[in-house]
């Protein structure tokens, strides 16, 4: 058998094997696996980010949510009182806006 014909047969066999593998889904599984790993890495990163942002940040001058010591409660109370004062101002502005009168215009 000529050497050229042997190489052609080898090539045909390789192509056939490759087609069978693709047809059976092996390549898909491999590529899915790779992409899944990529997504998993992304998911881990996202989870880490969420975990970091989910850490309860002190709200408007309050102390850390997990701290129930006297100083922390004192700090929280002060922060609440400041917001209460601001709410009084907000309430007054609501009332003022409802009682607003325009400057009379004439010509």
């Amino acid at each position: 058998m000529p050497a050229v014909l042997k190489w052609v047969l080898v090539l045909v066999v390789l192509v056939g094997v490759g087609w069978l593998l693709w047809w059976s889904g092996w390549f898909k599984s491999a590529s899915y696996s790779a992409s899944t790993q990529g997504n998993a890495a992304g998911a881990v990163a996202a989870t880490t980010t969420q975990a970091a942002s989910a850490a309860p940040a002190p709200l408007n001058g309050m102390s850390v949510a997990s701290d129930s010591s006297d100083p922390a409660i004192g700090q929280d109370t002060a922060a609440v009182d400041a917001q209460m004062q601001a709410l009084d101002a907000d309430g007054s502005q609501v009332t003022a806006s409802l009682n607003d009168k325009p400057v009379a215009q004439s010509y």
Partner: protein, 268 residues
Amino acid sequence: MTTYKTGTRIAFGLVGMLLVPTLAFAAATTTPAGASKAAAKMTAAKARADQEIDRRVATLNEVTDRVGVMQEVQADFKQNLAGAVSGQVAAFAALKAKIDAETDPTLLKSEVQSINESYRVYALLVPQARIATAADRVVTLTRMMTILGSKLQARIAAAQTAGTDISALSKTLGDLSQKLSDANAQAQSAVSVSVSLVPDEGDKVKMAANAAALKTAHTAVGVAQKDLKDSRKDIATILKGLNVSLSAASSTPTITPGSATASTTTAH
């Protein structure tokens, strides 16, 4: 026929010569005086118009600052509210520029009248925004007090473990929870009512509906404020019962309206 001596005729002639320019001058000054009066009237009208426009823009700018630091509302609600306010500011700026540059009395009259007409929109937008910002702060306060309440609950549990009778403190804590829940509900209600406002365009039925809605929302904000004040009293009662030292409270932070540290309100 009356006859005059030559000297007399000359005298009349001289007087006549003197009077003609005088009368002519008087006639000439009648129009400038009228024009000056009209100009003064226009200037006064423009001053009144500018005063009212400046007043409204100043209020709207305050509202813009306050809306910008709202913490609890949904982003689209906040964006829509800020957009409506900035739209009004732009409209007033354009109107003011037009009025200030106006030279036609008829057009000026129309432009001045448009200030009165635009008041209906302004008179709805500002209360709506004020109610939203107040409600936003109510919700922020309920969050803050809820966090504080959790800490107090932990302290009460610790006191119970140590053998303290906590029945009264637990009851007060329960009242605190109810008050905070109601304050939150009132804030939600206030905002929900205020967003139902529609420009009346002179329609008296719509005007009445808007007025009723604003009154309802105003009442809800007031109830929420009272709930929060009662909640603060509950907190004080619990702190006293637990003998908590509030030394840190001496450094009470101050809040400037519109600043980033001033805050909070409502989810819808």
